[in-house]
């Protein structure tokens, strides 16, 4: 899923995913987006999880200039909408070997019912063996919150890196 002529852009950014930038954007989502409060809260939660995955795990990194935060991942986020959904999309470089792992996570999440996803999230809450596993629980949480399948693409960029793009969507009429 990509922003196209039938969707309306809400916000786009490309560059370092500094915490302060993510915090300011997430506050804007909750306070200023013109959707039902529950839609905004879902978009906010998904935005934080997806963008923090980029900040922590993007293979393309920059120095934050602070001792506390070290380096910060670079990537892109897009928020756009059509009549039915709000879309939250992030893209970042990953090492080739992480592609099949992330694709496996997305397929796994998309193949589960809500109750299975909750149990899966619980089982993974303590799992921190590999670098991408923390991203895993974030993606599981996104699947639970969005209540929709994750859309993803992995595009090879060179002999070492691929671009991982993941899109979550939230119904614009959410009133549950």
């Amino acid at each position: 899923m990509k922003h196209n002529s039938s969707t309306t852009p809400i916000m786009s950014y490309q560059g370092p995913f500094f915490m302060d930038l993510l915090a300011a954007t997430s506050n804007w989502i909750r306070s200023s987006m013109l959707f039902h409060v529950r839609v905004k809260l879902k978009v906010h939660k998904i935005f934080i999880e997806l963008t923090q995955n980029v900040a922590h795990y993007s293979a393309e990194r920059t120095d934050t200039g602070t001792e506390i935060y070290g380096t910060c991942g670079l990537g892109r986020f897009d928020i756009f909408t059509d009549e039915e959904y709000v879309y939250i999309q992030t893209s970042n470089l990953i090492l080739h070997e992480h592609g099949p792992i992330l694709a496996g996570y997305c397929h796994q999440i998309n193949g589960m019912e809500p109750e299975q996803l909750k149990a899966f999230k619980a089982a993974n809450r303590n799992h921190r063996e590999m670098k991408t596993s923390a991203a895993h629980i974030g993606l599981i949480h996104v699947g639970i919150i969005s209540e929709q399948p994750l859309d993803f693409q992995i595009e090879e960029k060179d002999d070492k890196f691929s671009m991982f793009t993941v899109t979550a969507k939230v119904k614009t009429t959410e009133e549950n």
């Binding site: 809260l41 906010h44 934080i48 922590h56 619980a122 809450r125 923390a134 974030g138």
Partner: protein, 126 residues
Amino acid sequence: MKDLVLLTSPETPYFPEIRCYYNSAECRIMGESYMEDARKFYNPITEWIQQMLESEGKIKLSVRLIYFNTSTSRTLLQMLKMLALYRQKGANVQIEWSYPAEDPDLKNDIEDLCQEAGIDAHLIPM
């Protein structure tokens, strides 16, 4: 035993405000929690609670977070598991957890955490 107070700042809204008071045996966690390294932030708070339970055998945990990320939820789960163990050993452990009434996803998250930790909390919509 000293009180532990960590104030929040508008520049870093991803850190919650922490108020741990010895006299009232209370630990309050308020605001939002989606910092980079949740374990590092919560370690001193968990240690304070553990010392309180060891020395006084009681604690009241009051959580009022309008949002926490999955990294924080891992750390809160460890804290709740510790509280469950102390309660099993006879400590007086009370948990009050306030959440925004318009956020059923957050309420579900809190219920899941408590269930996973094997401890009950008094949930308060706000």
